[in-house]
Amino acid sequence: MKCGYYTASTIEDVIARQRAHPGKSAVIAGGTDILLDIEEGKKNADLLIDVTQIPELNQIEEMGGRIRIGAAVTHAAAEKSSVIQRNARLLAEACRSVGSLQIRNIATLAGNVVSAQPAADAAVALTALDAEIEIAGQDGRTTIPILKAYKGVGKSAIDTSSQLVTAITFDALNKNQGSAFIRLEQRTALALPMLNVAAVTALNPDGKTFAWVRIVMAPVGAGPVRAFKAEKSLKDAPVTMDAIKAAAEEAASEANPRSSRLRGSREYRLEVLPVLVRRAVAAAAEEVPGHGLCLEKEAVRL
C-alpha cells in the first residue's frame, strides 16, 4: 500500500493535516475496514491520519446520565467497560458479536459507524440507544443523530478527508428501561449477521404499559433501520405478547432486505424478521424490574 501515514496527537492536529491535504486524506482508527478498502481499490487516500493515539479519544465517560465513548475506543474495550455493561447492556453484547477477538481488540465503534455497513452490530445497538455522533471539522464542531450519519450502503455522511468523529454519546438506560440485542447468524465469529435486531423499551411506572420503544433492524436498508411505525404502535400499549406480536409484524413491513446468497433471501429474511423483533422487544421488556409481561415462553422462543 503506497500512501503516507501520520499519527496525530490532538484533534486540532488532525484538522490541520486534513487542511494541508485537501480531499486527499482519510482518518484511520482501527483500520480493519479502510485498509482492505484501499487494498481493493474501493477507497483512495494519499495520507492516512491515525487518531488512536489522541488521549481524549480513548475515554469512556459517564456524566449526568449521558455516556460518551471516544472515537478510538475499541469494541473489546467497550464490551469490558463497567460503564457500558451497567448502562447499555445491549451495546456490550453487540460489541462482543463483531468479528473475532483480534478484530475487536483493534476495531473501533466510531469506525463501525463511519464504515456505514448496514449490518454493523455496534452501530445497530447505538441506533437503538438513539446515539449522537460528535464531529470535528474545518468549521468547528457539530453533533448529528446517528441515523443522519448514513448516506447509502457503505457511504457515510462523514467525510474523513475534512472531518473526524470525536465521540459517540447517548443517555444511560435507567431502571424503567430494558434492552436486548439479537443476532441471527450462521456462525458465532467472523461472519456478518443474516439479521440483527436491537430494542430498547421504557415502561410506564405501573409496569403494564410501554412508555416508548425503539426498534432497530439490519441489514434491511442502507444503515440501521428504525421501525418507527411499530414503535408508535407500542406507545402506551399494554405490555403483552399480543401487542408485541402485532408491532413485530408492523416492523417487518418497514424493512426492505436484499437477497444474499450467503446470508438468506429477501423472502426468508422477511419471514424471520418479525420473530426476531418479537423476541428482542419481549426480552427488553423482561429486563425492567416489575414488568407486567406474562411470560409466554413458547411465543417468545418460537
Binding site: 500500500m1 503506497k2 500512501c3 503516507g4 501515514y5 499519527t7 484511520i28 483500520g31 480493519t32 485498509l35 482492505l36 487494498e39 492516512l48 491515525d50 488512536t52 473489546a76 468479528g99 473475532s100 477477538l101 483480534q102 478484530i103 481488540n105 483493534i106 458465532t188 465469529a189 467472523l190
Partner: protein, 159 residues
C-alpha cells in the same frame, strides 16, 4: 522510510520501514522472524496473530506505524527446542498439531487468553480462538491443550 522502535519478544528493535507496511510483513520480511504465518492477509484466519501490548491482534491488519513504541510478542519468542513453553508442550501432549500452519497464531491467541485468565472455561477458550481457523484438528484437541497449559501454569497467573 521511517524508523520505528518497539520491544520485540523482550528486546528493543529499531527498524527502517514504510509506515504503511503491515507488521506481519516487517516481522517476516525485514526481521526474518518467520514463525508468524501469513494466511488470508485480511484478518479472517488468525494465522498471523501476535500479541501487541498484551492483546491478540492480526498482524496482517496492523500498519507497522501502530507498533511504534509498543510491546510485540510473537511465537518466535516462546521457548526454545530444549525448553518448550508450557503451551507448546501442551499442544504436543494433546496432539493439537496436524499440518501446523495455524499453530503459531493459535498459541499466541491462547497465550493472550491465559495471561489474562489463567484458568479459562471451555467457552472462554472458544471465544479467544474463534478468530483462528484450523482446517485439520476440529479444535477439540486445541481446546484440551489450552486447558493442559493452564494446569501446567498451576494458577500462577499466566504462562
Amino acid at each position: 522510510m521511517i524508523t520505528i522502535h518497539f520491544i520485540l519478544n523482550g528486546q528493543p528493535v529499531n527498524v527502517e520501514v514504510m509506515a504503511t507496511d503491515m507488521l506481519l510483513d516487517v516481522l517476516r520480511g525485514t526481521l526474518h522472524l518467520t514463525g508468524t504465518k501469513k494466511g488470508c492477509g485480511k484478518g479472517e484466519c488468525g494465522a498471523c496473530t501476535v500479541i501487541m501490548n498484551g492483546r491478540a491482534v492480526n498482524s496482517c491488519m496492523v500498519p507497522v506505524a501502530k507498533a511504534d513504541g509498543a510491546r510485540i510478542d510473537t511465537i518466535d519468542g516462546l521457548g526454545d527446542p530444549d525448553h518448550l513453553h508450557p503451551l507448546q508442550e501442551a499442544f504436543i501432549e494433546a496432539g493439537a498439531v496436524q499440518c501446523g500452519f495455524c499453530t503459531p497464531g493459535m498459541i499466541m491467541a491462547a497465550k493472550a487468553l491465559l495471561d489474562e485468565y489463567p484458568d479459562p472455561s471451555d467457552d472462554e477458550i472458544k471465544e479467544a480462538i474463534a478468530g483462528n481457523y484450523c482446517r485439520c484438528t476440529g479444535y477439540t484437541k486445541i481446546i484440551k491443550a489450552i486447558h493442559i497449559a493452564a494446569r501446567m501454569s498451576n494458577g500462577k497467573g499466566g504462562v
